[in-house]
Symmetry: D3
Subunit: 275 residues, 6 copies
């Protein structure tokens, strides 16, 4: 992540939690130095621990920090993730934000890993969507990657995805693709959301790089992938979950996008103890 | 919400999604005017629909907007929530952010409502924690309120909550409370996280306004509430969920805080269709 | 103060004074290292000297700094407060802002101390208001605390204060308190501004935590405090100054709020000399 | 004032007071429309009322506003200054900030007017300094102008003022002025702070545009002004107040700078009543 | 362009020019309404006129505006581009920024158009680089598009471009591409900067989407394009200008990137006259 | 430059180029340490190299940096300007922005130096205008100074420049100057743009400090300079370039302002090589 961007966003999060100050810690805490240990309280795939150090740097210059687990590691219940030694004030300023970040990101990474593992033997890879929590997207997308997924576009700005409303407005698939090729950066890929085989054919002939097979049954997807093999990248999309992901992977698609990676992930359990 | 704060945060969310622009819509869309309908795809408690209008205002001055459901209403699958009429560009700029906000907030409101309904006949009210998604806290806390919960403190800045680490650092419960009373605003309440009845006694005698009964069994909570009745506000905390919330409510506590309102809520299903 | 918040506000102040640069110092000054001494030119209670170091850090990484007096100390005319050794450029960049901060804050701390000392033998404590200079509130409130006062709420966001206009709008004291209890965080105290004994009674019965005795004569205040002893916190408010504060304190109120702590404080005299 | 700058600073002030929201008003107030009157409670020179309208615009689009007095007008106790008609929420959001701005600025304008009136028959004009409250400078300087003073430089960035430390660092008055002429914008005036007649001579010969007569007795100032008549602008500075300003004006100087315009001004008394 | 992004950047530009205010206009101008005409003083391709209106909106709500020429139109010397009717203050606040934007952008659009016209009969299109003026990139890239070019990536964030240093660091072309495919969004294209035919071969075999033919002679480019026809997109790069662009286009490449579109463009001549 | 301002602007430039991250470098680069050399590829006057170090500090704390040439030095083709040793990631993050800054600034410095050298034997100095690239003004003005020019005002905020539209609006030259003297800071110089000798006379008699001789022939300028010698500073303006600058300098004016210093400067050629 861009260090300048990271610093600005972490500052925003700290201001959200502490605004002008911490009423409790500033009243109660001495400047004493303490050791804190972040520990797993269940099994999960770790994500977000790399942000502890830049977070501490926003508050204080003097601390020591050791990380025992890597991003993407399976951490077992009871294992130590990191140790911080710093003033109590610093620890209490960052504790909650630090945990919130790791718990949310690890929840996403763990969910992603489980799905990715289910289709490890197939060509398809798990990918995410723009269905992320406002204000936390880049961290949620990062967690998908740590979990073993591949990111879809980061936002509206970095690639072209033509949906039904665009097609309706442009007057057809071909016109929409032509307009995108004329106006967008040539380094942007062009993806078209397709509802049926006819649209896929039209999109590929008009030069789409990626075709989204939206809410199709697996049989249709398989037929499309075989028919247009090598002419586009295929993304399966729409209500895919643990129950049907293997079936979808078997169709031969390249990517399977799953909104639930972010919008149905729940937090993992960790805590921070001070000695 | 403070209109200035709201505008600044919504701008941040839009920049996160669209940065300098929307590669697809700017290439493909005409300036044609369209009608969009936001509709429920399952049953849920609505939260966040009031933010659609300020979001549209960030993009465009010309649009019409009608809201058919109120914040906190149970919306049934298939019902219309809102209608927007504006240029396609405007609609496509805000669509995803708009849905992300309502889906996440309604998920929280629905989860809160279910828990609140379970203990409606008791004194206790459901409350939230600081375990929120970084960058989206004020909306998540707002959703808890819409769902029928009561907010706990918003952050570190607006009330005093003395935890074990503060007590350790201050040299005991009494010293910590005395320090808080000397330094914090007198308009701040002082809450103490207590692990057992002895701590509760000490906290109340030292002048705590609120006592958190942390991870106690219901029998202990009941005994404490009866013994100190009227001398403090009692908050039950720690791994409370659908299975045990009624038991906890029966102890007579005033508030039951549940991190899962925010960290285990999942999104509700809605969509936006353009005519 | 939250270190992230502090840095952002100090940056704003430096941009206000220097915008893109210092026309004089950049033209005239060499990089030579000098020693500067900040010294009192009259007797006062010191506040704000702790902000010199974070201010210097915004400009330069290389400086040495020693503080000879603590926040809240009475400093006598001629005494040294602090010594800085750094490049002349750095010194001249921060000199004026540094002095402006200490002079304004020490003026407030000194005024607060004098009033606090007058009522030291009574229960009442001096408190502030929201009548602060726009853009400098958190420093002015901090100076009140350094001077021996206790802070009232920091702003509109951190506790509930129901005034006549709220009561009018809500349809009475009870309705206003009920609405506040239903909507505000349960960690917020609820204060009601009362014009007479009847309102005090109504407010207390409806569950107000704090009662503001607004512009009442001391006899009325005394009677109210005695009658409702132990049922609420009492704050005396309205045109209280050196001449009547002792009389007000004798009524037994808990807090005496004085807008003049901030809006009638004037600067203390100090200077910075370079050797 | 630059409308973009004004909006950004007013937003900062509103966030300082209300952060994410107003706990009381949002709980208690209906959307009812009310009329508010801002009225003088003592006699003073009005400043700051022009900022009410842009402040209201930050909160709401729908309000009506009438201003009965102009910036710089003497307002008498009891007179109406302005009337606002808007939702109660909007009124209560801006009330305190609105009053704080007008009270502080009118205090400065009134103090300035009194001093300016004392020397109306002389050549000299009253001017301000950089001794302003951090975060509120441009409004304080504006108030000086409204009160009948003339502004000195706004900050370090918009003209050159060579002080003793610069001279020491540059190796003499002439070298400092030469360096300034070589490096600063040629549209910047160059002022030199002079401690005695010898320095004045040196500064003028080296091309200073403005000479600050710093802490000199009136006899010395008179002699300098006569000797160097027409060769520079003369600014008297240092501990000038109501008691000696006329004597200083009689020396023939062009400007008299008075830090007390800002750092010893106190607030005027006004209030806002809702009908 | 994202309306939120556009507003924020225009605000930044206005603060750069006017900071807290316009010393001249605020002193001198009445509120009188005037008509201003922006007129070409030479022939050029217009770009940037669409930003006049959002710029005016930052300063004032009341103005009328008419645009006589479209983005990308050839405007002849003497022709009217736009008319504004507003207060003089508003006009003078935006005049310089408005002209600076149009002059710089039209200079780029004109330079782009001339080069694009030279190769209109070939497959190749003119594209830009990241060699833009810091702080003004998105407008410069927009001007290239208006002039008839196609944008390359907008920055480091929206597609992958593997250069010699990346290859060196990754341990070869294949490893670099494999790493990019594993880590970057699958919607990002992958481009490789190639110095010779061997590298091109390696890059294409490893799955590069786009191949940059960097500083190659036209004979080599032609050979590569023929040999690898249909297997990648080809971008010619390196010291291409009016003298050799046609030769390069004849090689059959898809895109010709020219840094000089932005770094050697000069301003067109226009002015704004008030009636 | 104000270090706080510099940091904020450099952060803005880095976000413009890299937003949330560098897709290529983060995927491909190891953390290996490399040496980079910035080298001239043609002869030019160096400007902007002093900003490399603060730029690196935004990304990383660990790097070593050596600068071999000073701001304003003539650098010859092939000479080394600077060496950086840091992680490849850091180098690739700042490379393009670093080069863009130096190339643009050195282009301006070189153009300025050439014009300044042509009139070295005359009184006149070369000065700039407000015709700068939006978002990059302070660096472009700095480059003019490095090149041997003198800056004109930095923006609308730091001195008074009365143009025809102001005069029209104020009702004449005298009224405009009187208004400016009454309202602007007395430390601001007042300049009047004059179209003929009559206006110059009027302006000087009304107290203008600087007179702009706008688009006059050299004979007229010479006559004006002689007639009003010593009563004002004279700035020649309007379509002055290499061909006529010496003629203009011979008229005896004090400053010659040239928009082309910034709007017709092109980039110098440099590169950064990694060993």
């Amino acid at each position: 992540m861009n260090p300048v961007f990271l610093k600005k966003v972490l500052e925003f999060y700290l201001l959200e939690d502490a605004f002008f100050g911490d009423a409790t810690t500033e009243a109660v805490s001495s400047g004493s130095i303490r050791k804190a240990t972040i520990r797993a309280k269940e099994d999960f795939v770790l994500a977000g621990a790399v942000f502890i150090e830049p977070l501490l740097e926003l508050i204080d210059e003097k601390f020591s920090f050791r990380l025992f687990k890597g991003e993407g590691d399976w951490v077992r219940c009871g294992e130590e993730i990191a140790r911080i030694e710093s003033s109590v004030k610093t620890l209490l300023y960052v504790e909650r934000l630090c945990l919130n970040m790791i718990q949310r990101m690890s929840g996403i990474a763990t969910k992603t890993r489980k799905l990715a593992d289910m289709i490890r033997q197939y060509r398809a890879k798990v990918t995410d969507t723009r269905k992320t929590t406002p204000g936390f997207r880049f961290f949620e997308k990062y967690a998908v990657k740590v979990g073993g997924g591949v990111n879809h576009r980061m936002g509206l700005f970095d690639s072209v995805l033509i949906k039904d409303n665009h097609i309706h407005d442009a007057g057809g698939v071909k016109k929409a693709i032509r307009a995108a090729k004329a106006s967008a950066s040539f380094t942007n890929t062009i993806e078209v959301e397709c509802a049926d085989e006819g649209m896929v054919e039209e999109a590929i002939e008009a030069g789409a790089d990626i075709v989204m097979l939206d809410n199709m049954d697996t049989e249709t997807m398989r037929r499309i992938v075989q028919r247009f093999h090598g002419r586009a990248i295929f993304e399966a999309s729409g209500r895919i979950n643990e129950n049907n992901i293997v079936e979808v992977a078997k169709t031969g698609v390249d990517f399977i996008s799953i909104g639930a990676l972010t919008h149905h992930a729940v937090w993992v359990d960790i805590n921070m103890d001070l000695e």
